[in-house]
């Protein structure tokens, strides 16, 4: 079970985020759901890079080679994306604020009705 559990959790988090995104009645809530989807990618990346019995590849407190280490490449991918993802969330929220200013509603359904 442990062989696939992390991948299944990543899939579940992604799907649940997508469901929330599609059924959301509030654009701010939708942006939050997108953040959940993003979290799924981090879980998947780090799960791929894990090595049983390994420790983090930071050699500040032990000599290289003394312990097995996990994959640093996927960690580097995830780490930059976390911060960049936050600024993209900010950009989306700025768009939502603009929508609220122009159309006085945050409900995506009402917005599509506006456009006719």
């Amino acid at each position: 079970m442990m062989d696939v559990l992390p991948y299944l959790v990543a899939a579940w988090v992604f799907l649940v985020g997508c469901y929330g995104l599609a059924t959301s009645r509030n654009l701010i809530h939708a942006v939050g759901c997108l953040a959940v989807c993003q979290a799924a990618t981090y879980v998947l990346l780090l799960a791929v890079g894990y090595r049983k019995g390994g420790t983090s590849p930071v050699f500040a407190d032990f000599t290289p080679g003394a312990r097995a280490v996990v994959d640093p490449v996927v960690q580097a991918l995830a780490l930059t994306d976390v911060v960049v993802g936050a600024t993209v969330t900010a950009l989306l929220l700025a768009l939502v604020i603009q929508v609220a200013k122009r159309h006085h509603t945050l409900d995506p359904d009402e917005l599509s009705e506006l456009r006719g």
Partner: protein, 257 residues
């Protein structure tokens, strides 16, 4: 398309994606596998360049060009937010009323402000040794400044926050990254190559060649970017009123904490 039909389409799509993802999960290498060819090579390279934190080495040495791309996305996202949230012609600026903050909260936040700032700078500076680096430390340092908003109020934050300077700092961080990259070219190697500086002694602050410099550049950019972002959002939420607003009352900073 009505709501009901849309729901069915959604559920169908989710079920299909779920089936594919589960099928893929069982075909992936088992969780915790010992086979990490890229990881092993990355660790080997990082140690050859005397960088103790191999994650930082991957980010700022082996894949430094990719990080430049990430950084540019960040820069563009901040620029977009600034453009979207500027004060429109039909809006006006209203001074928020001073907030009434409980004395212990104020004292706590004012004591913690320098501590958090130092912690942020520590995380940036030790990025090549211990977990951390420019991305994380930058956010922590920027959050530290906003303790002033919690401790006093938004006006106090505005007074010590020359926003123009932070906007310049954001661009300067990005530019510093580019310049360090070009320095690699000028030194006769390739763009962003970690060859212009000696790699130093393993596990000391000056190890890793250009890794600490790039870390500092990213730290500056991220910190300034977060300050600018939050400034725009705070302006919108606290200060800028729409056309229909009543001059007399403002919802700014009245409540107690």
């Amino acid at each position: 398309m009505n709501r009901r039909l849309r729901m069915w389409v959604l559920l169908l799509g989710l079920a299909g994606t779920a089936a594919l993802l589960v099928a893929a999960a069982f075909r992936l290498p088992a969780f915790g596998t010992g086979f990490h060819p890229y990881g092993d090579r990355a660790v080997h390279e990082a140690l050859a360049r005397q960088t103790a934190n191999t994650v930082a080495a991957v980010n700022f040495d082996q894949r430094a060009f990719d990080t430049l791309g990430e950084e540019t996305i960040l820069f563009a996202a901040v620029l977009g937010t600034v453009v979207l949230l500027r004060q429109a012609r039909d809006e006006r600026h209203v001074e928020p009323a001073p907030a009434d903050v409980a004395a212990p909260v104020r004292r706590y936040a004012l004591v913690l402000l320098p501590v958090t700032l130092v912690a942020g700078l520590y995380i940036v500076a030790h990025g090549q040794l211990t977990p951390g680096g420019g991305f994380q430390g930058g956010v922590v340092a920027a959050t530290a400044l906003h303790l002033l908003y919690i401790a006093v109020d938004y006006r106090a934050l505005e007074r010590i926050r020359p926003l123009g300077l932070f906007e310049v700092g954001d661009a300067a961080g990005e530019a510093a990254y580019l310049v360090i990259g070009v320095a690699g070219l000028l030194a006769g190697s390739s763009y962003l190559a970690n060859t212009i500086l000696p790699h130093g002694t393993f596990n000391t602050l000056s190890s890793g060649g250009t890794v600490p410099l790039l870390n500092a550049a990213i730290g500056m950019e991220v910190a300034c970017a977060v300050v600018v972002l939050l400034a725009r959002f705070l302006d919108q939420a606290v200060e800028i009123e729409g056309e229909g607003a009543n001059e007399g009352e403002n919802e700014g900073e009245g409540e107690r904490t």
